[in-house]
């Protein structure tokens, strides 16, 4: 599979990358790990004239502690996120999600920012980002702006990143002391989720005091299961109570139908997986 011809640049700073992007206009395309973009180019579903590689911008790589939040650089590979202690300690649901994302090869190439910018509704990182109230730092020629997770995912493969902008980092408020779990349902190991649920809960004396639940592949964007979250708060972390709260997980969602299952089946899965994710999070 051979992509159409394109020019290639690999700037070493965000400013240079933004300039290159501005210059290329409509014909420019950012490449991060290439794990989603390259298949599209090779199948000739898209043919940008200029590909701007962020791979040499060191400033975009790595995880740092920023007081009440951790900050993950957009170009940090999935593998580096997976092995990172800051992420594990403060945003365990991300660790759990990345652990099941693709295969080791893809995890070493694909990036945290690339996956989120790509905004595949079946992508594993959107639901955790939503559940954790992540903030997206987006750089443009006029400077940087910050977008809340709730506003970041706009539609199928569409985010708040505008033409000419680059996602530089993602800030995730620390949630030490919370339990978390990512429940991913697949047919084969290295597969995008048919449905997945990210749950983070705080349990005080057997009672759920706070809960955050994100759903993957239940609509054109990742979703927050707010009704479930509300129903959980103040309830005991028991199978019965969580089962009742999780029953509304599919409400208001609009999941796809494909070879892995139709929309109704996905709605049903969402309730089961939500219960399991919350119980596992509460138990851990």
């Amino acid at each position: 599979m051979i992509p159409a011809q394109f020019d290639y640049v690999a700037p070493s700073t965000v400013e240079e990358a933004l300039a290159a992007l501005a210059e290329a206009g409509d014909e420019g395309k950012i490449i991060a790990g290439g794990q989603s973009l390259l298949p599209v180019l090779r199948m000739r579903l898209n043919a940008p004239e200029k590909v701007i590689d962020l791979g040499r911008i060191d400033a975009l790589r790595g995880v740092r502690d920023d007081g009440d939040a951790i900050v993950i650089g957009a170009m940090t590979s999935h593998a580096d996120v997976l092995s990172n202690a800051l992420v594990r300690d403060n945003a365990f649901v991300i660790t759990k999600a990345v652990e099941q994302l693709a295969d080791p090869q893809v995890r070493h190439r694909g990036t945290f920012g690339g996956a989120l910018a790509h905004a595949d509704p079946a992508g594993d990182l959107g639901a955790p980002a939503l559940a954790l109230d992540a903030e997206f730092v987006i750089a443009g020629q006029g400077g940087s702006r910050t977008v809340a997770a709730d506003d970041f995912f706009v539609d199928l493969f569409t985010t708040a990143i505008e033409d000419g902008e680059i996602l530089t980092e993602v800030r995730i408020p620390k949630r030490a002391g919370w339990g978390a779990h990512y429940e991913k349902f697949v047919r084969v190991a290295h597969q995008w989720p048919i449905v997945a649920v990210a749950a983070a809960v705080k349990v005080d004396g057997g009672t759920i005091s706070e809960a955050r639940v994100g759903l993957t592949n239940m609509g054109s964007t990742p979703l927050r299961a707010r009704s479930v979250e509300q129903a959980l708060v103040g309830r005991p972390a028991t199978d019965e109570a969580v089962r009742a709260a999780a029953a509304s997980a599919g409400e208001g969602t609009n999941p796809p139908s494909d070879l892995n299952g139709d929309a109704d089946y996905r709605k049903h899965l969402a309730t089961v997986l939500t219960r399991r994710a919350v119980l596992a999070a509460a138990g851990g």
Partner: protein, 820 residues
């Protein structure tokens, strides 16, 4: 003349788990695959393919493509005309079989999405690909025949000129053949005083998905025109090129270099090969074409794709009295090289290991506007084994009998071999009791049944199912006379030669054509024992018609049982040729010589001579007996006297999460009787790979087309080929009843795992949830289907209605717009 004191090779090579000698080069890729062949002045091709399943080609404008950088030629079917030859069907299953003419590149009408309409030749592959995008083809879409059952009703015609989609009806009836009774009688009787089970099963369409995409290079610049191809069948390919393109066979050289897998998918003679052949000869330059993975999935032949209507009759105590099989088999758009014959092979296997008094088999092959179908690992036997083994479980459930007991009641007892079946085959050897006993023990059958009961009693959300498959199969294709009686277009013999080199090493040439099986290792082991030479000193050559001039290639688990026997006969001839020379040099009588471990010894003396010394002396030829030719080299062509009938008992346990329909394999035990084993490691590899491929049919793989006839599962995102991460550790064991029809007592193993495992898994799935009223779950048994079977009794729902690919053109174009 020396007294040889070499320690005799104490241990035999046959039976040793030798690491495969070819693997280092295959795994590291430091070898010749077709795609890394580079020739001076070589040009590259890209294909333009129809996006429509059925359409008239109204015009093709190649001008823009021709003007693109470094494009040498753009050719259409009209340009190539007659010279392109035709793709052949070598097995017309009935005299009146209807088959559309299959031009490699049609000029007027396309009959499936993916059919080639133009070829672009440029100086680089990238330039060819770029220019292919510029070829402008106008189509007039025609209604397409897509669904197999609808196509069989002839409402929409795949090839309007034929007037019907029905290609051939092939029938075997035991009453008429005199091999058994009348099946209708048996069914009628069972309806009144016995039991009749009627089911319809779907054998979904699969894609062979070999690792190395197909690739072809043609070099027309020598006296012989040379074609390299990633093929399983270099010899048949050469024959077919000669037969259809008018080039004398002696002017054609075909080379299959190292080939990365095939599973039947590379036993085709392909449009791509024919087009590159024609183009290279026309341009007078070497041309290469390598398909993309998408092209491979879309246009390489597919496998399976049947509807099976099965009626089984039995007495109330579970004795089988009749079995009626009615198949609809989807040929796709053309009758491929053995396309129609593949389902017909099932005729001999639906009766399996059972004593069935009355049997009827009818197979209707049907043309549709989808990718053509042909052999895929097992070819006809997996479909049959699935049908009969599923039915045995259904009958057992109906009778309330343990499904193993039901099988035992009906199978051929070990003391009844050789046994002539109701389908007319003679099974030479086997012991179903022994394999089953061993499998039950390893599996822990009784404990798992007890656990299953506990889970049922406690209404556990996770239910356990146990699936059985007591399979046999016919392989080692095939006695030429039998093939002739079936109107197959070739014989089933195999050829080998052994060349004794002067310096003590041995070259072996085989007509079988390995593409990952490990022939080089196994053949070396056999020759090492037979001639008493070191394993390392044997070189196995294959796949090039200049070296291996005779052969019928590799498929149907034939290489060892047919090709290996040819090899033994050739090696034995070497010994017989060496004997008089050794006697002469040892000054002994031929009758006083015995050959053992590589040495001719004079009986009762300590005089002897190694065969490699004889080879050197023969090379020098200074002192040979009168009238003896100075060569030990020998050939043999072996035509098998019978098929080979491996069998085995496969037991599978699965856990079903009744809340989600999710499935987890708990245990898989197989005890296969494949006769004597040449290399246990290679056998284990074949069994493991075979099992996974069969399990994949049960659980994961399906080629799905949408309403327009476009392949939806057109990438590995949607066509779910499993990886090691999806499988468990299998218990693999063997019992041994040596085959009586070849010297080594071996039986084929290349397809056994695939044939056996699919029904074992589906039987396990159904067994886990039968108490919810479920009697079938359609393959692949997706969690959705399992869930719906439990909760809505709807396990048969097709997925085609919700066909959507992960890489949908519209979505993915959007995705890239949105993200930056």
């Amino acid at each position: 003349m020396t007294v040889t004191e070499d320690a005799p090779a104490a241990t035999k090579e046959v039976g040793k788990d030798r690491r495969r000698k070819e693997d280092q080069r295959l795994i590291t890729g430091r070898t010749k695959w077709t795609d890394n062949i580079q020739l001076t002045g070589m040009l590259h091709a890209a294909m333009v393919r129809s996006p429509f399943a059925h359409a008239r080609i109204t015009s093709i404008d190649t001008s823009e493509a021709k003007a693109a950088p470094n494009v040498v030629a753009v050719l259409t079917g009209a340009d190539l005309g007659e010279g392109q030859g035709v793709c052949i069907n070598a097995w017309p299953i009935t005299p009146d079989q209807k088959a559309p003419n299959h031009l490699p590149m049609p000029s007027d009408r396309v009959a499936f999405a993916g059919e080639i309409v133009a070829v672009v030749i440029a100086r680089s592959a990238a330039e060819a690909r770029d220019a292919a995008e510029l070829v402008d083809v106008d189509y007039d879409e025609l209604p397409a025949a897509l669904d197999l059952r609808e196509a069989a009703e002839d409402k929409v015609l795949a090839h309007p000129d034929l007037g019907t989609n029905k290609s051939a009806l092939w029938v075997f009836d035991s009453g008429q053949a005199g091999t058994g009774g009348d099946v209708e009688e048996a069914i009628t009787k069972a309806r009144s005083d016995g039991i009749v089970i009627e089911r319809e099963f779907r054998q979904q369409r699969l894609i062979p998905a070999f690792m190395e995409p197909r690739s072809v290079v043609v070099d027309p610049t020598g006296e012989q025109v040379t074609m390299w191809s990633a093929t399983q069948i270099p010899h048949i390919l050469r024959f077919a090129l000669a037969a259809t393109t008018g080039v004398p066979e002696s002017k054609i050289r075909v080379i299959a270099p190292d080939v990365g897998g095939g599973f039947g998918g590379k036993l085709q003679t392909t449009p791509e090969e024919w087009i590159i052949w024609a183009v290279a000869r026309r341009l007078g330059k070497p041309v290469k074409y390598t398909e993309t993975r998408s092209e491979s999935l879309m246009s390489g032949h597919h496998g399976r794709d049947q509807w099976q209507k099965l009626t089984m009759a039995a007495t109330k105590d579970g004795t089988l009295t009749g079995f009626k099989v009615e198949l609809l088999a989807d040929l796709g758009a053309y009758v491929a090289i053995v396309g129609g014959g593949v389902p017909v092979l099932g005729a001999f296997m639906f009766n399996a290991i059972y004593k069935i008094p009355a049997y009827h088999f009818a197979c209707q092959t049907v043309l549709t506007n989808k990718t053509w179908t042909d052999a895929y690992r097992g070819a006809g036997r997996p479909e049959a084994t699935f049908g009969v083994e599923r039915m045995m479980d259904e009958l057992a459930a109906e009778l309330g009998m343990d499904p193993l007991e039901l099988r035992e009641k009906n199978w051929i007892k070990h003391e009844e071999f050789p046994f002539t079946t109701v389908a007319g085959l003679e099974y030479d050897s086997g012991n179903y009791e022994a394999a089953t006993d061993k499998a039950k023990e390893i599996f822990g059958y009784d404990e798992l049944r007890a656990e299953q009961q506990r889970r049922r009693d406690s209404n556990d959300p996770v239910q356990l199912g146990i699936g059985i498959s007591t399979f046999t199969e016919m392989c080692g294709l095939a006695p030429s006379r039998v093939l002739g009686s079936l109107d197959y277009g070739a014989g089933g013999w195999e050829h080998a030669s052994v060349r004794m080199l002067a310096t003590g090493t041995v070259e072996v040439v085989t007509g079988a054509s390995p593409h990952g099986q490990g022939h080089e290792t196994a053949w070396s082991q056999i020759v090492a024992d037979r001639l008493g030479v070191p394993f390392e000193n044997v070189e196995v050559l294959h796949g090039d018609t200049q070296i291996s001039h005779r052969g019928l290639d590799t498929y149907g688990s034939r290489s060892l049982v047919v090709g290996g026997e040819a090899l033994i006969k050739a090696a034995d001839k070497v010994v017989e040729k060496a004997r008089p020379i050794a006697a002469h040099l040892l000054e002994a009588s031929v009758d006083d010589l015995e050959f053992k471990d590589g040495t001719f010894n004079v009986k009762g003396t300590d005089k002897g001579m190694g065969i490699t010394e004889v080879a050197l002396a023969t090379f020098a030829a200074h002192n040979l007996p009168d009238g003896v030719e100075p060569s030990l080299d020998s050939d043999a062509t072996y035509d098998p006297v019978n098929f080979s009938f491996p069998h085995g008992t496969h037991l599978c346990a699965v856990e079903i999460d009744t809340e989600t329909g999710g499935l987890k394999m708990r245990k898989y035990t197989c005890v296969d009787d494949i006769g004597n084993i040449v290399n246990p490691l290679i056998v284990a590899g074949q069994v493991h790979g075979g099992l996974v491929q069969g399990i994949a049919q049960a659980l994961w793989e399906e080629a799905v087309h949408d309403d327009a006839g476009t392949l939806v599962s057109a990438s590995f995102v949607d066509y779910l080929v499993p990886t090691a991460a999806d499988t468990i550790s299998f218990d693999v064991a063997h019992t041994t009843s040596p085959s009586l029809t070849n010297t080594l007592g071996t039986k084929g193993v290349g397809e056994a795992g695939t044939i056996a495992s699919t029904p074992a898994v589906v039987n396990a799935v159904v067994d886990a949830i039968r108490h919810f009223g479920v009697t079938d779950v359609r393959m692949p048994c997706t969690p959705e289907r399992i869930y719906k079977a439990i909760h809505a009794r709807d396990g048969g729902a097709p997925t085609e209605g919700a066909a959507a690919a992960h890489f949908d053109a519209q979505d993915t174009a959007d995705r890239t717009d949105g993200a930056s």
